[in-house]
Amino acid sequence: MTDIDDAIESRLSRLAAETKNVGPTPGFEARVHQALLTHQEATLWSGILRQGRLGIAAAVIAAAAAVVLAVQSERVYDSEVAVTYGAVELGW
């Protein structure tokens, strides 16, 4: 090891020791806590909105299925009524 290498190592060690006790400024933990809470709230709301959008999509699909089912049922009912009516007419 040269003198320069020794100088580098001792300077690094000294700076490491002198900056060892450096900590956050007062109120840092509270600021982080607040940021986490705000982030958590935003995540919650976006989750609710996402779930809400899924709910609306499911409701639209269910409504469309219900309309299709209703139309089909009406057609079946109409044709059955027509057959019955025809049968009654035949009976006459």
Binding site: I8, R11, L12, A35, Q40, T43
Partner: protein, 143 residues
């Protein structure tokens, strides 16, 4: 690593937010230890900040030091400024490796896990960092 408490606090806060998001989304797979994982997020953010600082060439005067004792705070402030100025000649990856090794006392294997590279790459970065510091001392002596 950043030589500036204000920047370091921003990075630590962002680390907690990212870690929280990753935990909520189930992205932390548990393959590494939580401490290593948090150091990895912090180091990546710090390296990005150092790169952007070099691009912007902005020197912040805000070097507030959060130690309670006034005398210790003054000493730490001087040491931080000295460290920041001295290590500013290093590329961000070398600075990160050297800081994790000398300041945090991590072994090379742990540094490799934190920085997401091989142990050989860590050794190379440390050697190159010391070579650059040696050159900077020589050039200072020549001046």
């Amino acid at each position: 690593m950043l030589g500036n408490v204000s920047d370091a606090e921003d990075i630590v806060q962002e680390t907690y937010l990212r870690a929280h998001r990753a935990l909520v989304d189930g992205q932390f797979d548990g393959r590494s230890r939580v401490r290593t994982w948090l150091y990895r997020i912090t180091s990546n953010l710090a390296i990005d900040a150092l790169r952007s600082r070099k691009r912007q060439r902005v020197v912040s005067d805000d070097r507030a030091v959060g130690v309670s004792d006034g005398l210790a705070a003054a000493e730490a402030r001087v040491a931080l400024t000295e460290l920041d100025d001295w290590l500013s000649v290093l590329p961000a990856e070398q600075r990160a490796a050297l800081t994790l090794s000398v300041m945090e006392g991590f072994p090379n294997a742990e540094i490799a896990r934190i920085l997401g590279c091989s142990e050989g790459a860590v050794e190379q970065r440390l050697v190159r960092a010391r070579t650059t510091l040696r050159s900077s001392i020589r050039s200072t002596d020549d001046d």
